[in-house]
């Protein structure tokens, strides 16, 4: 997980238990919308969940958050990857993806699809219940 150091963040990413990466320009729109709905409802606001939004330019990122009505600065666990670092390093492609970590090692990786997304997001929420 050395890769996450490239995000130049102080969020203590390697200590997070879960990292969710959402590719906003390539990803399945209905899956992205379900993830965004949870984020906006503040159901993923936990220190052990890191959310990375990934795309290839800053303007598309701004338009995305404006359209989805998310004020990023109010969230402490969101990282904006406007240089597609996650894609370039094979961490994400066309689906949102969740990495479960244990001591900086990936122990489970789930690509979200229309079939599994409801269950997987419920699992994610229940981590902090």
């Amino acid at each position: 997980m050395h890769l996450f150091e490239q995000y130049n963040t102080n969020s203590g990413l390697q200590n997070n238990h879960v990292v969710m990466i959402i590719p906003i320009d390539l990803g399945c729109h209905s899956c992205i919308d379900k993830c965004v709905k949870l984020i906006r409802a503040r159901k993923l606001d936990y220190a052990n969940i890191q959310i990375i939004f990934s795309c290839s330019n800053e303007k598309d990122m701004q338009i995305f958050f404006h359209t989805k009505d998310i004020q990023v600065h109010k969230y402490v666990n969101i990282i904006l990857d406007t240089k597609n670092i996650a894609f370039i390093n094979n961490l994400v492609f066309t689906s949102p993806i969740i990495y479960y970590l244990n001591k900086s090692t990936i122990v489970r990786k789930v690509e979200l699809t229309p079939i599994n997304i409801d269950n997987e997001l419920n699992n994610l929420i229940s981590l902090n219940k």
């Binding site: 320009d25 330019n57 303007k59 338009i63 995305f64 404006h66 359209t67 370039i88 492609f93």
Partner: protein, 378 residues
Amino acid sequence: MTKYVIIIFLISMVCISSCTKEIEDNQNISYDYTLEAVDTISIELDSTTSPKIEAIRYLENSAELALLNKSTYQIILYDLNSGKQIKKITFMSEGEDGIPSGIKGMYYYSEDSIFISNGYSIFLCNSLGKVLHKYSLNAENISYSFQVFFLTQDQPFIKNDSLICAIYADLPSLSLSAFRNKVASVFALNLKNGKGKCIAFYPSDYEKGLYGNNYTYTFLTTNPDKSIIYSYPVGDYIYKGGGEKIFAKSKYIDKITPANTIEDNPMGHTSFFVTSPSYGPIYYDKYQNMYVRVAEMPRSKEDFINKKWWKKKTLILLDEKLKIIGEVQVENDYLNVYQCFSTPDGFYITLGSNKDENKKSFIGFKLKRIVDEKNTHN
């Protein structure tokens, strides 16, 4: 013995006829023309408009450019001379005039006939953003569902009372049996009665092996005769009307070999596409009376691993009779040949990457005869 002679004769005939056909196909092609960059135009993008363009149309009557902003549900009209916005048409996602599930693309025919697609339906709208009619996509001669997108490279057009458009069938691209049973590729929607019929199907190339999702596209265009002209990512031919085949092969592509297996996930499909040659959109430039067909060269497997996925392109130039007259290598990797339009001033290709995300530029090209240049030197 006689039997063997007959077999050898038949094999010889097959060889001769196939060689003859090949010679016929390749003869008389003289690459006398090229494209010369003559102009650059730019438009200003507002803070809500992505620099990634998906649907752009030149409006001949007003000399304006129409650009779709999917995130704001708007079509923005630009004055091409000044590059400034002159009008925004806003559509609704809900209510009586609602276009649900997101706008996929648009075809701006006139102020009162703007066609918007959300995938499975087409909405006829006016320049006030009002939905005048909704067409659900059904075809009387096929049983499966399909979508239309109306992206720039999908060039729908009106012929008589029908809207002619490329479609994307909801069938698995890795099913050879589906292609043997004919997969529809072009659709005619009668705008008066709402009835639809598929009028073209994928060619037999698609029955020979697997190509994957990235090869199941249909590129459509037309000409002043309103002929239906279409091509596919696989195959050396352009099709006209009811299935007339016209040779339009890139001199840089040998053949496109299908796979025996493709890993059925986005990475598997992309890997095969990036490392294989393919053909892209076909455009008709009415002002220069030429067709342009995009050809895409394969990247190496090493390039694919290193995320160098952008395929080098050439533009095959064809005259009004669809005869090849030139082939130009696209040297600038930032030219996005999936976003092109023609105006009286040239054939414009979108510059895919600008340092300024609030500006979009288009390079205009004119057909130029190479032999003229040679004669001048002599």
